[in-house]
């Protein structure tokens, strides 16, 4: 029997971690993730988990300890945010290259400078090329559900890669919502026992992790890593369906909201999707043919599914909650626009930078984005590819 509780996103993640009961958690506190680590520390202190909780002296050491622990041969989790993820940057690539199934909860927070503790996606997007699977969550329920699925995805023998589950700082991490928790046993059975692969603790079969890899092999190793992350899309879908059977909440790579006959579409990630759904509903009431494409899985980028969802549209407005300084649009925009390029007839695509440093995004902002893309389509060409929502000029 499942149980309904009032939880914020951090607590939802901590409960998922309690039910998963990993062998090792190594984590360091950082706003706004601290609440998750504190709650997990309470579970350890109360004996509700068997986890070795390693209270490291930095995020760099948090991920380093996770790498050692995962290579040793067991289930490993951590959590961080913003500067913490930035400090882990070096180790992110190493964790992925070693094919270690670490699960990390990331509370999305703006990167310094200036220092800011509120939500944007610059931290996670800065890690998008590191070889990790990245799942975004719209609300606390999705945080909980994604954490549990992440373990299965990461540890699948066809995948064996680390997974980031993200939630928006404060908007999700600190807002109490209705969250349905599965039974402890149901989660335990769903994730199953850990299956080690080349564990360091198998002292009779010694393995070498992290050798010097030069021009004669490094390239082939990167090629196999590219293949590994590309191959995991069907696994993410499979696990999402199986989770649906267990919980009644199915997950795919994307979520299409009132998209069937939509002419104009907004593309967004994370908590903004909730706001965008409200905007779509309001505009639909006014007779506008609009819809939302929510990207749940950003890495690997589900190109074919995105093309299928967006090809029939007249116009697409992408919402980017992080910037690429000096680039041609935000990270979501560049992926989307590039994916659509080969279509014989493709929608016009524009980008909006929005919500940096926790700037609120209102239903009206998203209505503006829809109005703009409609204008662009009417004009038949894009004059301004990149614009802003909610910015004082």
């Amino acid at each position: 029997m499942s149980k309904v509780l009032g939880l914020n996103g951090n607590a939802a993640a901590a409960h998922a971690m309690r039910q998963i009961n990993p062998h090792v958690v190594a984590a360091y506190p950082i706003t706004p993730q601290t609440d998750c680590v504190e709650r997990f520390a309470e579970f350890v202190s109360e004996g509700l988990v068997d986890t070795e909780f390693v209270t490291v002296e930095s995020e760099h050491s948090a991920l380093s300890a996770c790498i050692g622990a995962a290579a040793a041969g067991g289930r490993v989790m951590t959590a961080t945010s913003s500067q913490g993820l930035a400090l882990m940057w070096e180790m992110l690539y190493i964790a992925a290259s070693m094919r270690l199934p670490i699960v990390m909860m990331v509370v999305n927070r703006a990167l310094s400078g200036n220092i800011n503790i509120h939500c944007d996606h610059s931290d996670t997007m800065g890690a998008r090329d590191a070889g990790w699977i990245q799942l975004f969550s719209e609300n606390a329920q999705e945080v909980y559900d994604n954490m549990i699925q992440a373990v299965r995805i990461a540890e699948d023998m066809r995948v064996r890669l680390p997974v980031m589950v993200t939630q928006d700082g404060f908007i999700i991490s600190h807002a109490v919502e209705r969250v349905e928790l599965l039974d402890d046993d149901a989660v335990k059975n769903f994730v199953g026992p850990y299956r080690p692969l080349y564990p360091l603790l198998d002292v009779r079969n010694p393995v070498t992790y992290g050798p010097l890899d030069l021009f004669d092999y490094y390239f082939e190793h990167k090629r196999s890593e590219i293949e590994a992350i590309d191959n995991c899309l069907p696994v993410i879908e499979e696990v999402g369906k199986e989770f649906g059977k267990l919980s009644g909440r199915s997950y795919g790579l994307l979520e299409e909201y009132r998209l069937e006959d939509a002419e104009y579409t907004v593309v967004a990630l994370g908590s903004t999707c909730g706001t965008a759904k409200e905007a779509v509903d309001r505009l639909r009431d006014r007779g506008k043919k609009v819809g939302l494409l929510k990207i749940r899985c950003f890495r690997p980028f589900p190109k074919d599914e995105v093309i299928r969802a967006l090809a029939p549209r007249k116009g697409v407005a992408v919402l980017d909650r992080s910037v690429v300084f000096g680039g041609f649009g935000g990270p979501v925009f560049t992926e989307i626009r590039s994916a659509l390029y080969d279509l014989p007839s493709r929608p016009l695509v524009i980008d909006f930078y929005y919500g940096l440093g926790g700037r609120d995004v209102y239903v009206e902002d998203i209505e503006k984005a829809f109005a703009r893309i409609e204008e662009v389509v009417r004009a038949g060409r894009v004059e301004k590819h990149i614009d802003y929502l909610g910015l004082r000029e």
């Binding site: 062998h23 090792v24 190594a26 068997d50 986890t51 070795e52 390693v54 209270t55 490291v56 002296e57 930095s58 760099h60 050491s61 948090a62 380093s64 300890a65 996770c66 790498i67 050692g68 622990a69 995962a70 290579a71 040793a72 041969g73 067991g74 490993v76 070096e90 180790m91 190493i94 070693m98 360091l200 603790l201 198998d202 002292v203 010694p206 393995v207 070498t208 992790y209 992290g210 050798p211 010097l212 890899d213 030069l214 092999y217």
Partner: protein, 307 residues
């Protein structure tokens, strides 16, 4: 303490065929330390000569489970491995006893890895950290570290018209580690097998963190013949530049006292990196070096109850 004969019969954990230089002190230290372990060992390695020269893919010289991930984090990495071991023991998923060791050079330990080391020591993981100390960043081509002695030539403390090599004294890492109050801390040298093996054996058996700072010459960086390695390391000990001692549960003990304390000049003279110090205008530096050594030695003798 095993005899030399017994040690020679133990399985090689770092096997021949690695590509460290002839005359390098590091593999001597590593082989002796690993031979001292009477149980299976899992090792972590910081980036450095030892790591790059022993694992060029698809080869490995390690006959034990081994992991390298980055430069500054050998202590955090082995802490993770050891935490997984404890988690698995607690759940009855693993039975046997295993030792854990991390190897880092002085760059990876004194400098970039100091924070991760301090954190792992404070948390009390059961592991041995070995600093193989060749007194500079040798892997990148002889750059000064905070373990480099006063006056030494390196490529980032070159000898020029204005500067006479490194202008700072080295920091005392062994004392910094001892200040963490961990159960076992020692200083040893790759040239004294009996001293090093005895300390490694003690360290492995310690129920908590242990640390050994091993002086291990780099003939390329110290500028001496490969055949001189053992002699020059031993000279460092006999000049009291590198005293051999241990701190067991806070109690200091000198493990080797030179019969006759030799002047540091004897050690400086045999290494190309100090050649410029022998010039008359640098006499004051040799004297300053000797003063430092004398003061450190006197302090140590007091701590060991020998003064």
């Amino acid at each position: 303490m095993p005899t030399l004969k017994e040690l020679a019969k133990r399985p090689e954990r770092l096997t021949p065929g690695h590509r460290l230089c002839a005359g390098c002190g590091a593999p001597i230290a590593v082989r002796l330390i690993l031979a001292a372990a009477d149980k299976p060992v899992v090792a972590a390695n910081a980036t450095g000569c030892l790591e790059v020269s022993t694992t060029i893919f698809p080869y490995t010289a390690w006959n034990i489970p081994w992991i390298h991930s980055a430069f500054e984090n050998a202590a955090a990495t082995i802490a993770g491995v050891e935490s997984m071991y404890r988690a698995k023991r607690k759940r009855g998923e693993i039975e046997e006893e295993i030792y854990f060791v991390a190897f880092g050079g002085d760059g990876g330990t004194y400098d970039i890895g100091l924070q991760a080391l301090s954190g792992a020591l404070e948390r009390g993981h059961r592991f041995l950290y070995v600093c193989y100390n060749n007194e500079a960043y040798m892997n990148t081509g002889i750059q000064r570290s905070s373990a480099t002695p006063l006056g030494a030539w390196t490529t980032t403390s070159p000898v020029g018209r204005v500067l006479p090599g490194k202008t700072q004294w080295r920091k005392n890492l062994t004392e910094i580690v001892a200040a963490h109050g961990i159960p076992y801390v020692a200083q040893s040298v790759a040239s004294n097998w009996r001293d090093l093996v005895a300390k490694a054996e003690k360290a492995f058996r310690t129920d908590g963190p242990s640390f050994i700072n091993v002086l291990a010459s780099c003939n390329r960086g110290w500028r001496h013949e490969p055949s001189e390695t053992l002699k020059i390391m031993q000279l460092a000990v006999d000049c009291c530049v590198w005293p051999l001692y241990e701190v067991e549960n806070g109690v200091y003990r000198l493990t080797y006292k030179p019969k006759e304390k030799k002047p540091v000049e004897e050690w400086l003279r045999v290494q190309g990196r100090f050649r410029h110090l022998l010039a008359p205008e640098n006499r004051h530096l040799v004297e300053a070096f000797q003063r430092y050594i004398d003061e450190e030695w006197e302090r140590l003798l007091k701590r060991c109850g020998e003064a």
